[in-house]
Symmetry: C2
Subunit: 311 residues, 2 copies
Amino acid sequence: MAKKIVIIAPNRDVDAWVEALKQQDEKLQVEVYPQDTQREKTEFILTWNPPREVFQNYPNLKVVASMGAGVKHIFNNSTIAENVVVTKVEDKQLEKDLGIFVLTSCLNHLRDISFYYTKQQESEWKPIKYVRPEETCVGILGFGTIGQAVGETLYKSDFKVIGYANSNKNHKNIKTFVGKDAFTEFLQQCDILVCLLPLTKETQGILSASLFKQLKKGAYLINVGRGAHLKENDLLEAINNQQLSGAALDVFQEEPLPQEHIFWSHPKITITPHIASVTHPKRVSKQIVENYDRMQSEEKILYQIDKQKGY
Amino acid sequence: MAKKIVIIAPNRDVDAWVEALKQQDEKLQVEVYPQDTQREKTEFILTWNPPREVFQNYPNLKVVASMGAGVKHIFNNSTIAENVVVTKVEDKQLEKDLGIFVLTSCLNHLRDISFYYTKQQESEWKPIKYVRPEETCVGILGFGTIGQAVGETLYKSDFKVIGYANSNKNHKNIKTFVGKDAFTEFLQQCDILVCLLPLTKETQGILSASLFKQLKKGAYLINVGRGAHLKENDLLEAINNQQLSGAALDVFQEEPLPQEHIFWSHPKITITPHIASVTHPKRVSKQIVENYDRMQSEEKILYQIDKQKGY
């Protein structure tokens, strides 16, 4: 049977993906849904935001691979048969980029950069006192592979870093708080909270009033997880009553963030358009083709998702 | 003779300095010019921006100590007798703070943070491609004690770093370009140029058209040295003709930067009000009192300035 990967990613320009995959293996056929052929022969799908229940059209499907680190978009819209493996992308460069973005956001908070941008527009010279990384505790909510890489980047710039996860990570520089019993203790220490959780039923809406009130008064929120982690009205209220000093948001429930959304004009909220880290097809096509080969030779597939946990 | 330090710092609130010095040594008298008494007995002056030739009133002066890392303000306004020692402050925390500020400025440049602030005001979602630290060469112009500390901070966050100095530093991670013959070669490699020079006759106005045109096209300037290093009109021209992509300025020829100054409203110039690092009297009063004691016991004074070099 011919080697074939089908890409299902409506509303996304997939040319770079097609090219990168073919460069990995010249014998590989890459077809793009809905123009793909002979669906009964398709075993491997690469996808982002697939249409509802689209996988039902592929009776011999073996692997559904996400084009990014997140997989919620796959489970949202489809029932995945028990024998189908779901995978994500693991990309060291993506972790590094994300670390640099979170570092930038933390430093901008400490050095009041958005305050000075505003003052510049008013031609006002107004020095204020700064805070130092070594005086600042950053809590990484979601201390998996990516969270640990981000934490290490912050640690190298002298931040105090702690992590929260469902299982112990035994990280040499960063203390991990494990499981629900340790959650409050974790939150109480955070001057800055960074959300890097996967999106699951349990984590949806976790950034809420009840979480915010457990943080230090005046704590700062950085969301680089998913938009659906955040209860938007709860954030606005927490900033208004000064429980939070502000937030840097890179992800939103609806993207692009609608023009009329109140976040755009909020003086304590910094908006970036989902640019914390971007997956480059060139870098990850190798691992996708490797997984294709592993599927064919019935070896263990890399970066598998635990369908119970959802990440 | 009573132990006495006289502070000469017009237009500056010196209460914290008086208190910090007295806490170091309860026998120490601290007097503030022009209310100080018995000037013929004064041997040690601590100063910032002294009035013209004020030291002539102190016939038995032995040490003039700067309240910061810079000393140009001392030589600007006064003739210093040959037997008088001039000192600066050396403060590890100040170097660290400066490193963090320069890191923040470099990261904001790579991640287009000022662009996104502008877009936020326009409620416009416009992701653009980012550049990585490991793809970016930062040149430290003035690779002395402070320059090396700043360079190390950038190096830890994966920037490529090079330094320029008058003498070789043999730094383990950072290549130093030494002396005028190596200046062009140094400049040609810089994606970002950070000015950390002391202000002397030779370095005044060094950030000029002739320097800018030796940098890579589209290079970025960060000035955390002194305002007088920069030829302001040359900067505006270099940005206008796209030789430079922009600048982050923390120091200015006149501070506070006058309200009508064109820099305030320039879209490619980021202004901060001299906040890169701030000397805290509490941290440096110990070394000042130690130098007083060394003066009395005729030991070698710390952090002496070479009056020929001016730093």
